[in-house]
Symmetry: C2
């Protein structure tokens, strides 16, 4: 191969929203797999709010991306060279491939996906990390059950759309919070949410009261901030508040707004619990089969936005997440 | 009976710390029990931080005390007249008797205590609400188990002293946070805590690091505020943060400081959960027997401060709780 491997490296810790100067696009020779390794041509990168945390110099559930390293990212790619008998050239795989054209990874970290089952970007969304996050967060951490009122923030996003639809499958009342009338219409008319609240234009407190007359049993929180406080003011007895993310706070992690209404947890004997989807890796198959089954039945719909422009479009595309500009799963096409 | 019944009535919603003008001491005739009722001469009142919440005009787990009503309080008294065959004159009972000399209550709400087992004020402390709160909060909500590191705030108070001692019984490492060297000495030297942190004089962050080298598995929080944030910064994987109270915030409930570090719950897959001890009423006997047994073995020590002055001393005595001036259970002698 004479082609070069373009790599997007993190070169500065972002202060506030990410900017072009936080990254550097460099080239290196395309590597050759050693024993037990495969070389993957990256096709799509998953863009996730959590990546903002990986860029910060802060101990977390994963170490920070070191300055000068290729930006960590989950991707889908095609095996172009293999030194492991278990994976053949031409197979599609998913893994932590990073923001680069070619990834050299141990074969055990390249997980096969079947392009006959769904378009490839879906394996980063409903049939990937977003679906897993929605499934385990709602059903395991949130313990959602029939008759519960489930509220999800970031409802039109990759995780939120699946949360609300799984809630409906399970016989819950699903209420989404999203930004703008178009997203809200999408949630109720296309995805079957019982109600949607437009946090940019609605009186959220009044809308929560109207749409959750018996209180909120499960709050699946992707955004944090003021919405978390408003929801805490409306939780039901024994509610579960699932902390999945806090996208409203990621750009100012040194001055995070804490939930002043947290004493509602005491009054309502409720709990607030965080989780990391990677902990459920042993059960991804269960969740994938369940979601794929609901999709086949037409009960769960998935939507992906595939951004063009390759690695050079990483920064502006990533920023769209924080501006709430995407609906469903946002992926970046690399190949 | 020609004696009058003095009653302390709530006449204003306190703004900040309670003051004398929020209450009015009035007199009324001593009532006579109707069928199924008993008349109780109140002997001791329990003074609890939660009462501050009952004075506020805010929906909570109990309705607010109405303006003009006798201040709600748990007490111990002696039955002086009974119209129920199940309770005899002369028996000692516990119940929601209110801040008054005499309480007329249904016999079913006057719960017998045995003065041969312990001094009466202890039935408001280690063998009463404080003990129940410590037991169920630590073991049920907090799920403390052998080897856990348990941190408790308000550690020298009525609940905190019992939390730390039960933690030791269960094989945990017990670390208390209290105000002042004398309280800290009491915790480690008298009650067997492994360590105590003086939040008024120590660098709490550094002390938590030193005394909780493996992180904090259970935080039993009585105070809220800055300490909650500092502890969240040090929680271990799968930690349980038990929200029992937030005494630092009760005098400014309209401007509560929320835990800005709450995203530690996500990173550490931890939960924060509130509870109300009344929900465990069906299991009070289990907890009382356990604590009484540990006391008999010398493994749990109880301490009560009995304040004199009767109903007229209610306000200044109640304020001592919020100034951290008491060690162990604070009760007000009425009779």
């Amino acid at each position: 191969m004479t082609e070069q491997n373009r790599q997007l490296k993190l070169v500065a810790r972002p202060d506030g929203p990410v900017k072009d100067s936080d990254f550097e696009l460099t080239t290196a020779p395309v590597p050759t797999p050693g024993d037990g390794q495969v070389l993957v041509r990256v096709q799509y990168l998953s863009l996730d709010p959590a990546m903002r945390g990986w860029m910060a110099d802060r101990a977390s559930y994963l170490p920070p991306v070191a300055l000068g390293d290729v930006m960590r990212a989950i991707g889908i790619g095609r095996v172009v060279a293999s030194s492991d008998p278990k994976i053949a050239v031409g197979e599609n795989v998913r893994g932590l491939f990073g923001a680069q054209d070619y990834a050299l990874v141990p074969a055990s970290e390249a997980h096969r996906v079947d392009p006959a089952l769904a378009p490839l970007p879906r394996f980063l969304g409903a049939l990937g990390g977003s679906g897993m996050t929605a499934y385990f967060g709602l059903l395991d951490v949130g313990a959602a059950k029939e008759g519960d009122t489930v509220v999800v923030s970031g409802a039109a996003g990759s995780v939120g759309t699946i949360v609300g639809q799984i809630a409906k499958v399970k016989g819950c009342r699903a209420v989404g919070i999203a930004g703008g009338p178009e997203k809200c219409r999408y949630l109720t008319e296309e995805l079957g949410f019982d109600a949607a609240i437009d946090y940019k234009h609605d009186d959220v407190r009044a809308a929560l009261k109207a749409h959750c007359p018996k209180g909120i049993d499960v709050y699946f929180d992707n955004v944090g901030g003021e919405l978390l406080d408003l929801v805490l003011g409306r939780i039901a007895r024994n509610a579960r508040v699932v902390i999945c993310g806090a996208i409203s706070q990621y750009d100012n992690r040194d001055d995070v707004r804490g939930p002043a209404n947290y004493l509602a947890l005491l009054v309502q004997r409720a709990r607030m619990e965080g989780f990391i989807v990677f902990d459920y890796a042993a059960r991804y198959r269960e969740a994938t089969l369940a979601i794929a089954g609901w999709m086949a039945e037409g009960r769960v719909k998935a939507h992906e936005e595939v951004a063009e422009g390759g690695l050079q479009a990483f920064v502006p595309t990533f920023r769209r997440l924080f501006r709430g500009e995407n609906t469903g799963k946002l992926v970046l096409k690399i190949d």
